[in-house]
């Protein structure tokens, strides 16, 4: 079956949620991935949103992390002190999904500025809760639609959300593993523990390691056991199209 880039990313990310209990999801691809995982590899997965929603059962696919349809019928809606303090900082999140404008080889993220913080070329939205997700989730998955040298950089313009290596370097003991998976249009980068660099662990069908290295702003290491991503199955695609996003809110 044919599939789009969005469908590929959603399916690949959903598979990574196998066996996880709780996921902190943003809107768009992470929500698609979590919703598909409910139907496939992680039926009991509890999706938690920054807005305070735990265990959403929305009637429609949500358009924001605070969409009214996420609240009606949810299992719990918590205040932000409880959500950020007890749930996230308390260590209850297995996987957090994040995006960013820039990522480096250790999985540090920039979502604040392009250029100098004091007089930026481009002012981006900033940290939001990403810094908290990075510091407190057991691991972080990054989904980046575009894989190019503007986003996969040798050096961040600004480090908004630091991985555990930067925390350790400043003498703080990190809680989680930081970014362990980066899913892009070209393949999957992986990393297991503080000290590790992100390495190319899988490519999508038809993509070469050389092409991924070319699109990456640092000397990207390639895993010895580099694999090719299993394409979305007919079953996965059917669930995604018919059950998860029948109105094609995010699937294009």
């Amino acid at each position: 079956m044919e599939y789009t880039s969005s469908e590929l990313l959603a399916v690949v990310a959903s598979r990574e949620l196998a066996g996880r209990r709780t996921v902190f999801a943003g809107i768009g691809l992470p929500t698609l991935a979590a919703s598909l995982a409910h139907l496939t590899v992680a039926p009991e997965l509890e999706t938690v949103y920054e807005s305070g929603v735990c265990g959403a059962h929305p009637s429609h696919l949500p358009q924001t992390i605070a969409d009214a349809v996420l609240i009606t019928g949810a299992e719990a809606v918590l205040s932000m002190p409880a959500l950020f303090g007890y749930v996230l900082q308390g260590g209850h999140i297995d996987v957090g999904f994040l995006g960013a404008a820039q990522i480096d080889r250790w999985g540090n993220l920039n979502s604040s500025v392009i250029g100098d913080w004091h007089s930026p070329t481009a002012r981006l939205p900033g940290p939001g809760g990403a810094m908290e997700v990075m510091a407190n989730a057991r691991e972080v998955f990054v989904v980046m639609r575009r894989h190019d040298r503007r986003s996969f950089v040798d050096e961040l313009d600004f480090c908004t959300s630091p991985g555990p290596d930067r925390a350790l370097a400043e003498g703080f003991r990190p809680f989680g593993a930081g970014v362990t998976r980066v899913v892009t249009e070209l393949g999957i980068l992986g990393r297991t523990a503080p000290g590790d660099e992100l390495r190319l662990v899988a490519v999508h069908p038809g993509v070469t390691a050389a092409r991924v290295r070319e699109a990456t702003g640092w000397e990207l290491a390639v895993a010895d056991d580099l694999t090719t991503v299993e394409p979305p199955s007919a079953g996965e695609l059917r669930l995604l199209r018919d059950d998860v996003d029948p109105a094609r809110v995010y699937l294009r």
Partner: protein, 309 residues
Amino acid sequence: MPRSTPDKTTTLREAVAAHVRDGDTVSLEGFTHLIPTAAGHEIIRQGRRDLTLVRMTADIVTDQLLAAGCVRALVSSFVGNSSAGSLGELRRRVEHADPEPLEFEEYSHYGMVCRYLAGAQRLPFYPLHSYAGSDLPRVNPGIRTVTSPYAGERVHVVPPVNPDVTIVHAQRADRAGNTQIWGLTGVQAEAVFAARTAVVVVEEVVADGVVRSDPNRTLIPAHAVDAVVECPRGAHPSFAQGYYDRDNDFYREWSAISAKPDRLRAWLAEWVYGTADHGEYVTKLGEGHWAGLAVGEALSTPVNYGRRL
């Protein structure tokens, strides 16, 4: 034995005139849900200047307050038009000091929450785990560290924020200010408790008995509130759970409106300066528009508080 509750109801015009002064630190909270837009518009109409605006998610109403020249400094953790695009005025002021510079203090979401928690609890600081390794403390001297007197580990801290006035929007309150919120409750209670003065704007001022039938729903008790304003649909273009839905089209439109300074100012002239109050703004949008944001019914199952027999 029952107390007679004080009546703090007033109009938005009077509340802003009485409680928001030039140079004040003003907190407007509401995380996507229940954003106090009508209050922001009234601040614009009354021409307040040199405000320090404290708001976790600086979005459309922030861009409008900036464009109207009300704001000297912004304290925030997310400066974007949700996922719908950019805030044109904010970016012009930060990127080009156009038409004037903007002092900007950047925190993370939980950093802002913790600033309110410290403010509400009259604490000199509040500890959190967010900033270890980030560049943010390098550009924000407000973020510091403390060493634990137990195992000796360091932890980051943020300072309290105590706004001169906090304004929040809620579904309902009684005339004394006992305020009930459902759906996303965000950080509204903490922002109110942290403030020297607090104004609550509500969809409905309800009879005392409605509030008292469910005291756990009261997130802000009367003694923390100075003024209560009934202002239906006062959160548009954001939403009020159970009252009206989010105006997602307007969010998308705002990216285009705010991209051009002239167009933004024309919008303010028409929709804020050109309306005497929020009632006129609501009418101007038209009932057809509101019909598109209408929501159906999904009632909570009542709980029994019990009665002594």
